[in-house]
Symmetry: C2
Subunit: 331 residues, 2 copies
Amino acid sequence: MYQRRKRLSIEEYVNGVLEGDKVVLSKAITLVESTLESDHIMAEQVLEKLLPHTGKSVRIGITGVPGVGKSTFIESFGKLITSMHKKLAVLAIDPSSQRSKGSILGDKTRMPNLSVDPMAYIRPSASGSSLGGVSTKTRETMLICEAAGYEVIFIETVGVGQSETTVKGMVDFFLLLMLAGAGDELQGIKKGIMEMADAIAITKADGDNRPKCERAKREYKNALHLFPPSESGWYPDVLTCSALESEGLTQVWEVIEKFTGEMKEKDYFMRNRQFQNVEWMHDIILYSLKQKFYSSTSIRQSIQALEKEVKSKKIPAISAARKLLHHYYNS
Amino acid sequence: MYQRRKRLSIEEYVNGVLEGDKVVLSKAITLVESTLESDHIMAEQVLEKLLPHTGKSVRIGITGVPGVGKSTFIESFGKLITSMHKKLAVLAIDPSSQRSKGSILGDKTRMPNLSVDPMAYIRPSASGSSLGGVSTKTRETMLICEAAGYEVIFIETVGVGQSETTVKGMVDFFLLLMLAGAGDELQGIKKGIMEMADAIAITKADGDNRPKCERAKREYKNALHLFPPSESGWYPDVLTCSALESEGLTQVWEVIEKFTGEMKEKDYFMRNRQFQNVEWMHDIILYSLKQKFYSSTSIRQSIQALEKEVKSKKIPAISAARKLLHHYYNS
């Protein structure tokens, strides 16, 4: 199955991506995801050349616990977007499994129509080294997709881990999918995720479930108004939808358009993106500093014992930290 | 005004603190807050000797925007606690101002009764080097107060900055003070803080304001039930109170007792504290790694130019990050 990767030249990568060639696009993403030092340099040169062609998409984070009907939603919502003649890229992040080659098959089953749609491009995000569960390269993958002419980007996460905070930092709009009812369904969602949502879409609003969904919508609407608005001044909207019956999806898109319209008008849209760019730089730095520290031999040898001593209150946390830092800087 | 600090011996610090001597307690905190390398070593030895005597308090984070009546609340609620023959320490964090000597006078005005109560100890947390706005030494100050026999610790923040996440990581119970109504009062509160609250107390529930507060209480109760419970399984409670008329304060204390009771029963209380201890170690490490990076000459010289290039999309964030890391590791 494994094919030796034929290396393209920088120009071939850049031109192929700009022409929207899906094969070259995939290769460029693989280059950016590579952990080889030699690939890093080339990847950066490719990225630098593509950079002026990025930024023209709407970046949408979509999250929801397993069972909420995320795949079905993305399939139907995605088809709606491509039917409007917009090119759509779906970047799927699944921190729980090592997705690589196999997952492409998985996506074909998950989203049978979207995965064969010439206007759509689906790419699972390689896990491995990660920033809060998100591949360190998801942001760069997004940029390459933009350069390839994709006008809408979905970044999909499962809503149970740390990924959402990182994803929130790279998208314009954060959409939370929820089931009706405040019972067991809630248990799966990580606290704090609801406050990040720009909109909540209550899924599976069809058949007998419809009244329950309408009630949930009203309740969430009231509830969210008691919470502080986000920095952008936007109050999250609540909608119901049925991917099965293709209902309510147009409304979700309209909310996203309303949001981007308002944000662009008050100049928040670009300011937020600039802020996110700079934050991303700092995130990578922090990630690298941590990585280097925690993977160094001197730390790996002593950290477990010290953690244990801190846990059992043998030494104060501050002493343990200083000991480790001392080891690190002197080795 | 400035008095040369007379240095005590380790034994004098330890014994003085254990005896509950407020003068020695204050000196021990000053030692721990010191930025002198020579003081660090001594401070750690003092802390290590005090450590077995720590942990017996209830640690309560109290936050609320200016205008919510925080000082009045702490004064009345604090007096209630000392009237139950419990020793109370109040650690006040104000990231907006450099509080040191002057603030002690400030606290005397803010809390006239509590500041002269022999059962209470009020200490402003020195700002300066900080972890998310919180003094890096607030946690250690809390430990020393516990060793000095304080059974209830308040850590007070203003609810508008980054401090709350850090404080959440060092307390057992997080209390949010709110005004009635979901209007302008909300604007000041940072998004995400409400989801951290174990209880919300709606203040100033007296006179004409009472019905409004009762309505707000019902609304918040309903709203919070739509949100996922915290990891502890606890659903936040909502109460009303009037510090002016000393009403509802007993109920706030009862909720805290109910919480600690339940958490101790399911063994969450101690597990959470162990987790917090270890997290604190990692927080200090991270803080130190960042501090060293961002204060190094090579970074300070180049970071602003690179940030600008990232902002204006001249180079990708990842390239800027790698450049800075390269400078850092090679200088």
